[in-house]
Point group: C2
Chain length 301, copies 2
Amino acid sequence: MTQSPPRSFPQSGTIGWIGTGIMGSSIVLHLLKAGYTVNVFNRTKSKTDDLIRAGAVWRSSPFDIAANSDAVFLMVGYPHDVRETVLGENGVLNGIRPGGLIVDMTTSSPSLAVEIETACRRKNVVSLDVPVSGGDVGAKKGTLSLMIGGDEKTANDLMPLWKVFGQTIVYHGPAGSGQHAKMVNQTILAGNMIGLCEGLLYARRAGLDWEKVLSSVSTGAAGSWTLSNMGPRILQGDFAPGFMTEHFLKDLRIVLDESKRMNIRLRGAELAEQFYAEAVEQGCAADGSQRLYTILERYSP
Amino acid sequence: MTQSPPRSFPQSGTIGWIGTGIMGSSIVLHLLKAGYTVNVFNRTKSKTDDLIRAGAVWRSSPFDIAANSDAVFLMVGYPHDVRETVLGENGVLNGIRPGGLIVDMTTSSPSLAVEIETACRRKNVVSLDVPVSGGDVGAKKGTLSLMIGGDEKTANDLMPLWKVFGQTIVYHGPAGSGQHAKMVNQTILAGNMIGLCEGLLYARRAGLDWEKVLSSVSTGAAGSWTLSNMGPRILQGDFAPGFMTEHFLKDLRIVLDESKRMNIRLRGAELAEQFYAEAVEQGCAADGSQRLYTILERYSP
């Protein structure tokens, strides 16, 4: 009888996790269940309570997380949060050992991902940008779509770990490419949301029965995830998130920043940015992105 | 042994068909195969040659079609063609018997559909507006989606006939409602096309591999018929129609006209109208609607 050698990271080991919102918490639970030791930090400590009860270990700062983990994952709010968490004085990069790994799963700026990788490389640290799609439901079920940018070998080596919470796992290229892929997703989604909400507004004003319209159009050329999933919610007046208006606005602003940098003009995304900025201004920041419908109605009193 | 009584319209009888383009011709072939006698007229006579070989009967005008048919169907180009064909001096309404039926399957103006119904009613003629979606493939396979506006009883009575070439058959309401439903379809589609083309442009400029992007995004919240069907065509540089740019422009202009009438503002549809107007101006009128991609590229030299 041979004895198995002790498994090591990424098959097992200690993971640091920063940012325990709805999505982050679900992923941490998957990691704990898969046998990882997980250190957690969150700005609002109470949001880690359930995770600590489930076996996670509280650490008091990103620095502290980094000093006690094989790899550090983060899923925080905005690019400036990512910057502060990774590059700040009490941040991950100052605490991590050489040879360590930083994985940013926040939907954030591709340019910032490149900047972080450059800073990491100087310290012999590897970084990956791995935004996800699939929402809270995908996080809970462990069926997220992972869009990976950064070092390809590292991305491949981590496959056992990705599979703990991901289903569609795609490597997109060098640092920033994961974020770019996510921005493509958001750009397409923005157009689909505008089309749906304008179509719905037209249908209502024309006196059509939306159920009948759905049955006419949803299986044809106008069909989409947005139409089938957001259409019914809007009609029920259900504006709960799903995916929050303020986060979509953040993403659209990243899309437009990067577009400018790449010298392309995306007028549909610009229009969506205006609509979502208005939604946030109207106090709908924490509503679902389907709130766009109400904003469009305001143009049509 | 009992003998069946002779069937009558809409189970059998003589149909007049005006407009034998790609879609119209496919539908006429289905009607002939189903046992109907079909009179045909088309501005360009040669486009009826195949149908006449298949058993259709040439008639020399819309008036002549109407004088010799139980019901008259039309599928022509623009609202002004519909108007001329139905209401013109040598048109259908002047030739049809009282108690007759006119079915406009052109994607045309809802307001015109109402105007036609009013004119028909004065002559004791019934009219329906029945635009379709599903394209040339749907017409060939007999799997079109039919959006019906007008008299509900007539729409129901015609079910055996609709089923000859339609699969999704939905009654939407009084005259113009079929056209309105189709305009909703086109409004949604316009947003989806903008989202797709902008996403694709972003992806290319960011240096992403589109196959990989598709595998990351097409099964999630950004997924759509447009993404899965038009994305690959654009990448292959395939701009053949499908659905012609100039026809999409026509539809978008109807959407905007009706929006104005209904006092709603659809800024996404306005943007699409500008893009498709530019496409037509650039000589791309007969290209597929995916030509939008090339137009967007022009903004981003």
